[in-house]
């Protein structure tokens, strides 16, 4: 049985920066806090932490028509279909896809190597004090029960919506968004964004990609590892059949 892929649709234009999602996420996932201080901005904590899966960035931009532009952008796991973190992860089951399409994790299986950190095009995974991976998992426990992720449930303005990925995209196109960020990238993101302007204005990479070396490794080196071994063994066998062992003339070895 296949299930329609689920996704979050994030609309910074609708976000009022209330950060209800930031708190709801922490509440549902029972996440602890760090001691922060005000550094001259509303944005806090200053970065994702192992106990902060979702964070609103406050971006102050110059504006042509107004005093200023103040953008609020959710930073979190994008739940890529072609997920760099999963690709590079050496431990089976540490990172896994749920049937809804969420990239979830299992701390018991994580071996703490942090390769996912470098495999991620969005710099999302964080490691806790026990060196286990930690990040947004689309509230996979909630969605498995048919509930919305805590952030989407809390969002008062619909800036974070949860639903069938296809219908979210159709909906966005119907209300005039030509492009949906993440529609095609990385096999299609599970956290898709609609932007009024270029993604870089919102501090998001226009063309996100898994690092080339990781792709090369995945596409070439990985299969080669089997091929090389198999090849070497096969060549040896062939040689043995064709030429046989080297024998000393005379054979006085006995």
């Amino acid at each position: 049985m296949t299930m329609a892929r689920k996704a979050l649709m994030i609309s910074p234009e609708l976000c009022i920066g209330c950060r209800g999602c930031q708190t709801a996420c922490k509440e549902w996932n029972r996440l602890s806090v760090i001691k922060t201080r005000n550094t001259g901005t509303y944005e806090n904590p200053p970065d994702l932490t192992p106990n902060l899966y979702n964070r609103i960035r406050f971006v102050e931009m110059p504006s042509e028509t107004n005093l200023v532009r103040w953008l609020f952008v959710s930073q979190r796991c994008m739940h890529c279909d072609d997920a760099g973190c999963m690709k590079i992860c050496p431990a089976p089951g540490a990172l896994f896809k749920t049937k809804e399409g969420a990239v979830s994790f299992n701390k018991d299986k994580c071996i703490g190597c942090k390769l996912c950190v470098v495999g991620c095009p969005f710099n999302i995974p964080r490691y806790d004090d026990k060196d286990k991976v930690s990040k947004c998992h689309l509230c996979s426990d909630r969605i498995a029960e048919g509930l919305m992720p805590a952030c989407a449930k809390t969002c008062p303005t619909g800036a974070i919506r949860y639903g069938d990925r296809d219908s979210l995209i159709d909906g966005a196109k119907k209300i005039g968004y030509e492009k949906v960020y993440g529609e095609k990238d990385l096999g299609g993101l599970g956290a898709i964004y609609v932007f009024k302007d270029a993604p870089k204005i919102y501090g998001i990479d226009e063309h996100p990609a898994i690092p080339e070396t990781v792709v090369f490794w995945h596409k070439v080196l990985k299969p080669l590892a089997y091929l090389s071994l198999g090849g070497a063994v096969a060549v040896s066998l062939l040689h043995y059949v064709a030429f046989g062992p080297k024998k000393d003339e005379g054979g006085e070895e006995k």
Partner: protein
């Protein structure tokens, strides 16, 4: 709110001024954005570019405390360009009323209206009256041309609010003013509606009431009151503050907005006679004409069988104010500071941080003998005696802490800004020794009563005669646990005798003895009904013998499509979702905007008694036929004696038209509107040249305090932050007191974003982290540059315990209030800012 939260979605233009819904009422933005999705324009006017402004179609910056200049300019713009809704203004407002020719305005009297007495700082309002005809009705000029008619007086008054003047006062660029005026005035057409959202940004000024009045005038001119998507909407800052105000929170009102009697109203008869508005106009409903029924039913509720006709229904036992006495917040703390108050219950509040001029409030607490702090957590109030600059050994106040249960730990109703009373259930049991407020009161009541019974004491009757039937009694006579449903039923009220409609023959039975009242229309002035709060009558009712808690209804049907959801919970009065909705139709009862019909008159449909003609849609402001009906038609503004929306408002202390006055502390020498009166001439001064407490000092236009400041809340914290500072997730996001300043000011002062700075006023100082931003810009005020800064007031020294949060910005704010409400002016005052040493 005249309207309700969901109704914001029906607006074409939303003016947010004096509020910051994205930060303080985030859920409301859902409806703002629904409106924007439909093409509505959001205008945000604020000194600072807020999170709400981030969503605005038009943002206009405006110096704190100059709203009336801004709105006065808009009134002039509307009138100059004939953008008002004439049919509405002529028929539904007092615009055509002729005013006493002796009435003079500030344009003629250099800043004041006629009747001012500088000694008492009060007006004699004799001249603020209408010319009456022989029938005792106000004279009208429906052409609006008579120079003494309200409309012409309005025009004359605001002719002084030219674009140049408005811009020079507010610091808003002229083009922005025009853009805002033009956009908002576009709602003067019958098929366009504008709404206004305000909160403490308007009320917390020495001209707070007049700020709102100015908007009410605009809304009446544009025909936006009573309409779906219209109204003047106060966003209440606390989930149940509407409920608590309805139920007599303030010193001068009893539940249901009945005035608290003063000592000179010696008996119930005098109270009713003096306080019941009268009209000779048969077309005016004058609903407050029923005051006698409501006060009597209230007395029957609180004194029960002890209240009889013979003892004036116990009127004598009601607490009385001395004539002219003001017992508002600032006055209470002033009295406390002067040692005139012995004990104090700080119940669910934190005055050591929330009171304007909190330094004075903290000192005042030390003058008490005892204080009881009822709260979820200890706070700056409960621990004031060990706070900054306090010497615990010298504080005599004995403090008791009573742990209270939180809102999710108890059952009951809350009433939100939509006047919507919703029933809530206990989610979890109270933690530890904490108790719901009602249980704490129950304990208190029985102990106090016992003391009165044992020791007598002065005036024991109010306590001894109080009804207290909220549950089963134990052997000691104390109620074991409070059944909150009983309280809700008591508020709704009961028929104490069978009630008959005697106008019909045979008399028709309306109510059965012992049953819950069906509607406040049934309440009586003869002691045969009880009702704890007349506006809540019908909230917990009985239909065909079956008891129904209307507030617990949860049906999600929306027959009008306007989001009224009439069967979701219950709104006062009588489940009316939009107040003054009779103004949303023309004289014939047809909606001004058929696409957004709140109500409409259906002349052919039959009433339950078989008569033709009923109102469809929302619960109308009375069932009377439309106004065009010469015999039975009624005016739409039923709560006003003259039945009209008040463009001319003679009821207020500071004038019938809003006039710009500068805040108590301001950056300019004189009021650009009138040289003689810089500040509101009727605001009570706690400090002046003649004297006053040094704690109440203010310094205006003083080089030591050159910057305008304002205070506000942030999404992440609630009120003084007692709840949210104890919530690590919230504190993580917003950990420290900060001050927002413009890049220009930061450069002048050598301050970098993230620097620790000291903000000081004539009254106190706080440290804060500088948030240097483009969201504040210097204002061009009267040809000079004025800087403004802003601070939240959600921090306090007591928690977080390491002091890393900072302290309340109310240590800076002044002791002065609006003359009508005495709400303190915390939204505009003067400060200095310096980089902190060390």
């Amino acid at each position: 709110m005249t309207n309700h939260w969901i109704d914001i979605k029906n607006a074409d233009v939303i003016l947010v001024m004096g509020a910051n819904p994205a930060e303080n009422h985030p859920i409301s933005m859902k409806w703002v954005m629904k409106a924007q999705e439909r093409g509505a324009k959001l205008i945000v006017v604020d000194p600072r570019f807020t999170r709400t402004a981030a969503k605005a179609d038009i943002y206009a910056s405006m110096r704190s405390g100059t709203d009336i200049a801004f709105l006065g300019g808009m009134i002039k713009y509307i009138l100059d360009n004939n953008l008002y809704f004439k049919e509405y203004a002529v028929n539904y407002t007092n615009a055509p009323f002729l005013v006493n020719p002796e009435f003079k305005g500030p344009g003629e009297l250099d800043g004041i209206f006629s009747g001012y007495d500088p000694k008492t700082r009060k007006y004699d309002k004799k001249t603020w009256s209408y010319q009456m005809d022989e029938k005792g009705l106000p004279k009208k000029d429906p052409t609006l041309k008579d120079p003494n008619c309200v409309f012409q007086l309005l025009k004359k008054h605001y002719s002084r609010y030219t674009l140049n003047k408005a811009s020079a006062i507010t610091g808003t660029p002229k083009e922005k003013l025009i853009e805002v005026y033009k956009t908002y005035a576009s709602t003067g057409k019958p098929n366009r509606v504008g709404t206004e959202l305000y909160a403490m940004g308007w009320t917390q000024h020495t001209v707070g009431t007049q700020n709102i009045r100015a908007m009410a005038i605009i809304q009446l001119l544009l025909g936006n009151i009573g309409m779906a998507g219209g109204g003047v909407n106060a966003l209440r800052g606390e989930s149940n503050v509407q409920g608590s105000t309805d139920h007599g929170l303030l010193f001068h009102i009893l539940p249901g907005y009945l005035p608290v009697p003063s000592a000179t109203l010696v008996d119930l008869k005098t109270y009713i006679e003096k306080l019941t508005p009268k009209t000779k106009d048969p077309k005016s409903v004058n609903w407050w004409g029923n005051r006698g029924k409501y006060i009597t039913s209230y007395l029957k509720t609180i004194y029960g069988d002890r209240a009889t006709k013979d003892n004036d229904f116990g009127y004598a036992w009601l607490p009385k104010l001395d004539e002219g006495m003001n017992a508002s917040w600032l006055m209470l703390f002033d009295q406390m500071f002067k040692g005139k108050i012995e004990g104090f219950f700080a119940w669910g509040q934190n005055p050591a941080c929330s009171t304007s001029n909190a330094g004075k409030a903290r000192k005042a607490l030390s003058k008490l003998d005892w204080m009881v702090n009822v709260n979820l957590f200890d706070n700056e109030t409960g621990s004031f005696w060990k706070g900054p600059e306090m010497k615990p050994s010298e504080v005599k106040t004995e403090v008791f802490q009573l742990p209270a249960a939180s809102s999710v730990e108890k059952e009951g109703s809350i009433t939100n800004s939509s006047r919507l009373a919703q029933w809530r259930y206990e989610a979890i049991e109270p933690m530890g020794q904490s108790k719901p407020d009602s249980e704490i009161m129950n304990e208190l009541y029985f102990r106090v009563k016992k003391l009165y019974q044992k020791q007598g004491g002065k005036f024991p009757e109010p306590i001894l005669n109080l009804t207290w039937n909220y549950g089963a009694k134990g052997p000691d006579g104390k109620i074991k646990t409070i059944d909150i449903h009983r309280a809700a039923k008591e508020i709704n009220g009961y028929y104490l005798e069978d009630l008959f409609d005697k106008k019909v023959t045979p008399p028709k039975q309306l109510g059965k003895k012992g049953e819950l009242c069906a509607t406040f229309v049934h309440l009586q002035a003869d002691g045969t009904t009880s009702c704890g709060n007349w506006i809540y009558c019908q909230s917990y009712t009985q239909k065909e013998g079956k008891v129904i808690n209307m507030m617990a209804r949860r049906k999600k049907t929306d027959p009008t499509g306007l989001g009224l959801f009439p069967e979701w919970a219950w709104a006062w009065p009588v489940n009316r979702r939009i107040l003054y909705n009779r103004a949303s139709v023309n004289l014939e009862g047809k909606p001004w905007d058929p696409k957004r019909a709140v109500i409409k008159w259906n002349p052919t449909k039959l009433t339950p008694d078989g008569k033709p003609g009923v109102w469809e849609g929302d619960v109308p402001d009375g069932p009377a036929t439309p106004m065009a009906d010469e015999k039975a038609g009624k005016y739409p503004f039923i709560m006003r004696a003259d039945g009209m929306g008040a463009i001319f408002g003679p009821g207020l202390a500071d004038g019938p038209f809003p006039e710009h006055y500068e805040p108590l502390e301001c950056p300019i020498q004189e009021n650009p509107m009138s040289k003689k009166h810089r500040i509101n001439p009727t605001a009570k001064l706690f400090y002046s040249k003649e004297g006053g407490l040094p704690e109440d000092i203010f310094l205006s236009r003083d080089i030591r305090y050159p910057y305008v400041a304002t205070t506000y809340r942030v999404t992440e914290h609630w009120q003084t932050g007692v709840l949210t500072r104890h919530q690590p997730w919230q504190l993580e996001m917003m950990p420290q007191q900060f001050v927002e300043i413009s890049k220009e000011l930061a450069e002048e002062k050598g301050i970098k974003s993230g620097d620790k700075v000291e903000v000081s006023s004539a009254r106190g100082k706080v440290w804060a982290i500088a948030v240097v931003t483009n969201r504040f810009k210097p204002f061009r005020v009267m040809n000079s540059s004025v800087h403004q800064v802003g601070l939240p007031w959600c921090f306090g020294w007591q928690y977080p315990e390491d002091g890393s949060g900072g302290d309340s910005s109310n240590l800076l704010t002044p002791t002065i209030g609006d003359p009508n409400t005495m709400i303190p002016e915390t939204k505009a005052f003067m400060v200095n800012i310096e980089k902190a040493r060390g």
